[in-house]
């Protein structure tokens, strides 16, 4: 008779070995980080027995390393731990504000960016912010480790590309050079504690003359997965991020959106709003990048 078990390996190697062994024995495993999605799903849906593998005692999943290489963010770092790091907020304000929008104070104490990504909700707030930043996923597994871009990690509604025995260890964000900044906006019909109707993340890099040299735009809640929108980025690159350029990016986002209609918003409404959010996020990112210059 199968039953539940709880394991909390304290090293990467131990976790990989444990997952490989259980996997080989055809025992179901379930990775636990903050648990704010997983525990609810486990208790309300499929309650079949499995081994819960808590990754929070592995140092690599809990560390925040900010240096010349960029940001290395452990997959199980909570929103509260991330928000407490002013140095990270200064360089990746959009990512931190995306994480900060998720849930109440209580949820912030547990929920992680890595978990938000693995849960793979179309409306996950951190996912567009990660994609806009060009973040990659560091994955550990029985065949060794691998690194994949966030935009290809999520493959469908609540589906990611982790293979059996694999788990997300950390997220890597490229460095935030001077005159660069990101921003994330979502629309919800109330002030907080809600799920995005549409969202947009934008990251820009400006040259010494204030001309945009690099840009990435990602949109959320308007397709089965968050989308990278290269056409919106192209509309920004080479401009001073003036009104016309930001509007062109907005139009590109609206065109790239493939939303559904549901109780939170109709298809045409979402398509419109995701453009507005793209334009506003681009303006915020621009102003932040210019502000950093002064």
């Amino acid at each position: 008779m199968e039953s539940f078990a709880y394991e909390a390996p304290d090293s990467l190697d131990a976790a990989v070995a444990l997952l490989a062994e259980r996997n080989q024995a055809s025992i179901r495993t379930q990775i636990l980080a903050g648990g704010t999605d997983m525990i609810v799903q486990l208790r309300s849906g499929d309650r079949s027995p499995r081994v819960i593998v808590d990754i929070k005692r592995i140092p690599e999943t809990r560390s925040i390393i900010l240096d010349d290489e960029g940001l290395l963010l452990g997959a199980a770092v909570s929103g509260a731990e991330l928000s407490a790091r002013d140095d990270v907020s200064a360089r990746y304000p959009g990512l931190v504000e995306a994480a900060d929008l998720i849930g109440s104070t209580q949820i912030q104490g547990r929920a992680s960016v890595g978990g938000n990504l693995c849960n793979a909700s179309p409306a996950g707030d951190t996912i567009p912010a990660l994609i806009a930043n060009g973040a990659t996923c560091l994955i550990a597994g029985p065949e060794g480790s691998r690194e994949v871009p966030v935009e290809s990690f999520v493959v469908g509604v609540q589906r990611n590309q982790l293979e059996p025995g694999e788990f997300l260890v950390a997220l890597r964000l490229p460095p935030a050079p001077p005159r660069s900044a990101d921003a994330y906006l979502r629309f919800i019909p109330r002030t907080e504690m809600d799920i995005a109707v549409a969202s947009a993340g934008v990251r820009v890099v400006l040259d010494a003359d204030g001309v945009c040299s690099e840009a990435r735009v990602a949109i959320g809640a308007v397709a089965p997965t968050a989308l990278l929108v290269p056409e919106a980025a192209h509309a920004l690159i080479g401009t001073r991020l003036d009104e016309a350029a930001c509007q062109a990016a907005a139009d590109a986002s609206s065109a790239a959106a493939r939303p559904i209609s549901d109780k939170r918003g109709t298809e045409s409404y979402r398509r419109k709003v995701v453009g507005v959010l793209t334009r506003r996020a681009a303006v915020i990112a621009r102003d932040r990048a210019l502000g950093g210059q002064a």
């Binding site: 709880y6 909390a8 648990g35 486990l42 109440s104």
Partner: protein, 159 residues
């Protein structure tokens, strides 16, 4: 197979056995008889089961009991001293900031965590901090006034 858990609860070393997929809320209420922590929604939306895990405010319904191995937990039973209520508790009574009382333990724990982190919160900060503690009786205003009053008293400020 039952899991053996050893942790510090309200300053006391405690040990208990639980199922691997049992929530901390269930273990507190049914194994440790600490029934001050209430179950509201069981999905992390209402905050009635708020506790402090290593000082961080969390919903005990969204923590597996074995996760607290070796860690420090404070529940609503650990907020008052043996001699007196915590100012947050006393002010909630003085302001009549409860009716049915189910949300109150969670409010007490969450408000204490707020005042530990920020002794002088604005009304807006207080409302945002407590947004995860649902109360269907009071309309929140009395709760917010009670918490701000407790903060003023704890700072030694005139109300």
């Amino acid at each position: 197979m039952k899991q053996h858990v050893s942790s510090t609860v309200n300053g006391e070393q405690m040990e208990f056995l639980c199922e691997p997929d049992e929530t901390l809320l269930e273990a507190l209420r049914d194994r440790l008889n600490l029934t001050g922590t209430k179950e509201g929604c069981g999905t992390g939306d209402c905050g009635a089961c708020s506790v402090l895990l290593d000082g961080t405010l969390v919903c005990s319904c969204l923590v597996f009991a074995p996760e607290i191995e070796g860690r420090e937990l404070t529940t609503v039973e650990g907020i008052a001293s043996p001699e007196a209520l915590h100012p947050v508790q006393r002010k909630l009574l003085e302001h009549a900031a409860l009716q049915c009382g189910i949300c109150t333990p969670g409010v007490v724990v969450a408000a204490k965590a707020l005042l530990d982190a920020n002794p002088n919160p604005s009304e807006e900060e207080t409302r945002y901090w407590l947004a995860g503690n649902l109360c269907r009786c009071t309309g929140y205003d009395k709760i917010i006034r009670a918490v701000l009053d407790a903060a003023a008293e704890m700072r030694g400020a005139a109300p």
